[in-house]
């Protein structure tokens, strides 16, 4: 478990020699005129405890969304005129009681639904039905796979995770994922360096996974590691924090700003509080005026100032980084 509170992480980010506010020449970002994505973080329980997890999720975490909160999220989704996607994340969303309620509720609203899946949950006892359930409801799967080599994946996510991830991918392939149904993989660097070119990495992943394991997938999302939570602690422990922040800041790319996910989404925590993004949620940086789903007002939300800090370099470095991969 991360030993740093949100406030302590902010304090560390504050001490960095770089300044995101200086890079964008103002202390906030402006929201896009419409909300396209409702990202719901159902809670911090997860069957894994990965080294880079920005949520600090693990089997020991007990934070879980309740039914009333989930139903209120769906009511908000119904009222959002331009909403396209309901994006479920955690933790391992499949291990939370509200998962079927949200999936079926979102599908009945005729929205695209994304399940951010860690793949190993699919082989946990009691969860064997999940792949067929996802396929039945035509849920889009976005699955974590840090690398096509066992060594780099297991280093980041735990011993044996690579083999279990491949088993999960094979199950999904058998159900039509990767061909008839969308299956995206998420790559993030296994250390203090930037994600490379998404197109090249996707080509490499497709070649390796098909030729070595017979696995197909739709596309790859290449994400940068944000300097928060467990990854921030690892950077500090390895005396790499200053250098990594400089790497991120040197790679700052203003062309990524219009596509930043915080400008186009609502992020909801398990307790119903609203955030600009999942990273701000983990830093305890609630949206301006501390809005929650019970007092949510779209006009106020769209006119808010998006809260930024130096971790935002992670989403704006190189080709940029978002829950949908590189931005540029």
């Amino acid at each position: 478990m991360s030993r740093l509170s949100g406030a302590q992480q902010i304090e560390l980010l504050e001490r960095s020699s770089v300044s995101f506010a200086s890079s964008i020449q103002k202390p906030y970002l402006v929201a896009a005129p419409e909300v396209k994505i409702l990202q719901i973080n159902v809670g911090k329980w997860c069957n894994q405890a990965c080294r880079h997890c920005h949520v600090d999720a693990s089997p020991a975490r007990t934070e879980r969304m309740d039914d009333a909160t989930a139903r209120r999220c769906l009511a908000i989704a119904q009222d959002l005129p331009n909403l396209e996607v309901i994006d479920l994340t955690g933790g391992a969303p499949e291990g939370h009681e509200v998962f079927p309620l949200l999936i079926e509720g979102a599908r009945s609203l005729d929205k695209r639904v994304i399940d951010r899946c860690n793949l190993t949950i699919l082989s946990e006892p009691g969860y064997e039905h999940i792949p067929a359930y996802l396929a039945e409801h035509r849920v889009e799967v976005v699955a974590s796979l840090p690398h096509f080599s066992a060594q780099r994946t297991d280093h980041q996510r735990g011993k044996g995770v690579f083999d279990r991830s491949l088993a999960g991918l094979k199950k999904l392939n058998e159900l039509g994922y990767g061909t008839a149904l969308p299956l995206h993989l998420v790559y993030n660097p296994s250390g203090a360096f930037l994600a490379g070119d998404q197109t090249s990495l996707e080509k490499e992943f497709k070649h390796k996974l098909l030729n070595q394991f017979g696995i197909t997938f739709t596309g790859l999302y290449a994400l940068n590691n944000l300097p928060i939570s467990r990854f921030l602690e690892s950077l500090v422990r390895a005396n790499q924090f200053k250098e990594y922040m400089e790497v991120l800041a040197q790679a700052f790319n203003p062309k990524t700003l219009p596509g930043l996910m915080c400008r186009h989404q609502i992020n909801v925590g398990f307790d119903g509080f609203i955030y600009d993004c999942d990273f701000n949620q983990m830093l305890d940086l609630p949206v301006e005026n501390r809005m929650d789903i019970w007092n949510f007002d779209l006009t106020t939300y769209l006119n808010r100032k998006i809260r930024i800090h130096n971790h935002c370099y992670g989403c704006t470095a190189g080709a940029g980084s978002s829950c949908g991969g590189s931005i540029e």
Binding site: R152, F193, G196, S200, E204
Partner: protein, 110 residues
Amino acid sequence: MANYFESEDLKKFGNIKRVNPELGQKFFDYYGAVMAEGALSAREKALIALAVSHALKCPYCIDAYTTTCLEKGADETQMNEAVHVAAAMAAGINLVHGVQMMNHIDKLSV
């Protein structure tokens, strides 16, 4: 300056344009074009560059291309093989000079 090689100096590479900026820029443009995706992928080129970094024993280049290889998705096994290619080439280059030595032995052995 405490050491001949300071890792922080790599960041100052661009300063090489302090005089003759046009020539410096031509080098960086050429360098960028060579390393871009082409018939060889950027990852393959980074692995070649990593091997050359070792062959020419450049600490700046080893740091830079280790990072680049990782960014491009290479894993440690691939990078290690690239270093072995450099090592094998260096060994072969040394050994092949043994032919010159043998030629000279034969020439003198009259």
